[in-house]
Amino acid sequence: MITTNNSPSPRPLPRPDSTTRPYWEAARQHWLVIQRCLDCDRSIHYPRAICPDCLSNHLVYEEVTGAGTIYSFTVTHRPPPAFADEAPYIVALVDLANGVRLVTRIVDAAPEDISIGANVLVDYMEVSSEVILPVFRLVGSAAQQG
């Protein structure tokens, strides 16, 4: 159900649940973990309580390298009010080697340097005292080499 609120916009933060909590706790440690089904071996993201292929609940989290490629991206010029001071920023879909796709940001990159198919590597962006978001940067970008 959609509600509306009239308060000034706080930054929307994820509220972990029993299934997703390991993902978010790993991110706070700067680890990227992806769920895998032990019964059918399928990698799953976003994490779920049951495997969408075989309905098993034998699901585990495993650390991944964080290497991926850009499937698509968009430069957001007119953001939601809570993100006004971050614009313009780049929202992207990143495909990891195990086949899962993440909705994420490309950080520390100019829009003209972004291309579909580019190689990226995970990094971490602290957005509150509680929440760290996995984000991605271009492979070979200067900040990485620092």
């Binding site: 509306t4 609120n5 929307p12 933060l13 976003y46 010029h77 796709r101 909705v103």
Partner: protein
Amino acid sequence: MALGIEARVVGQIAVVGVAESDLGIVPDVSAVQLQAQASARALREAGLTARDVDGLFVADLVNPLPGLLLAEYLGITPRYSDTTGIGGSSFVAHLEHASAAIQAGLCSVALIAYGSTQRSDGSRARRVVDPRSPEGQFETPYGTLAPLTAYALAAQRHMYEYGTTAEHLASIAVSTRQWAQMNPVAMMRDPLSVEQVLASRVISSPLHLLDCCLVTDGGGAVVVTGVERARDMAQRPVVVLGTGECHTHATFGQMRDMTRTGAAISGRRAFAQAGLRPIDIDVAEIYDSFTITVLLSLEDLGFCEKGAGGPFVGEGRLGPGGSLPTNTQGGGLSYTHPGMFGIFTVIEATRQLRGECGDRQVAGARVALCHGTGGQLSSHATAILARL
């Protein structure tokens, strides 16, 4: 070309009344008022009263029980109720549901209605995503805007895979504006060029402001009944020959191929049921939340090959005088867009098939296609209508 429509219509349903509420900027009214206003107008043109309605189909983004409220407002007690909400496509899906209900004898006169005051009350801007939902955990924290971000990502991917250009998308906005110029109730009626679309500011690349639909108040209503009863009624019946619907995902991160939508599924069913093909369509009303929505729909409905949508729309085909008149009331891009749009595709298709569109009438229109897309390329519903 003989389409054998008369032979196909036994047991089908027909649209017997359509109407819009006041549109545009309508301050000082509640959403249900607009729903009731459109409903009353549609029923009146059908020569019916509210008491004739025994099946009610409503969808709404704000009220979770919209059917209860509209029925109460109209003073009716429907024996069949359907508030299927799958986004803007809901009302085209409601045609399929109403068809099934009427053919099953569960109701005999169905009213499909929508109305929203999202512009005047600013509700769209204040939408709050549940932070525990998949969207609230894995998309919204990154600064995504629903539905804009999804459509921008799809457009960017389509450009990458098929060489579609910003000019191709802009030409959809241009042809749609040409139709709006001939619609007295359309909001935007100034001439529009490709250059002007490209000069409008980029909201989320590659989509410009003028690639995006309007944000307005407004509503619409459609009344359907069995075709045999429709023959005796006030308006020339418009029969529903085929329908199809599906949904493929909720959050855009789960859409594996952002260039291929479920319109391929809903469209295939609708055409098969109608016994027709894209070449038989005289006029198309295809939900245009964004220009890319139309382009993807045209490809997936089979009007052109996958990937060929850019050149297909870039040749003036969709505008006045073109071979596939599309969004002849001016679409969500230029006519109206009160949050959900599917019902307006059915209203305009019906009017075109009745021959009552005046300046924007497509000569000789006999068969129309309505297509609604909902959510973030998530849901699809297709209906093929024909004049009896």
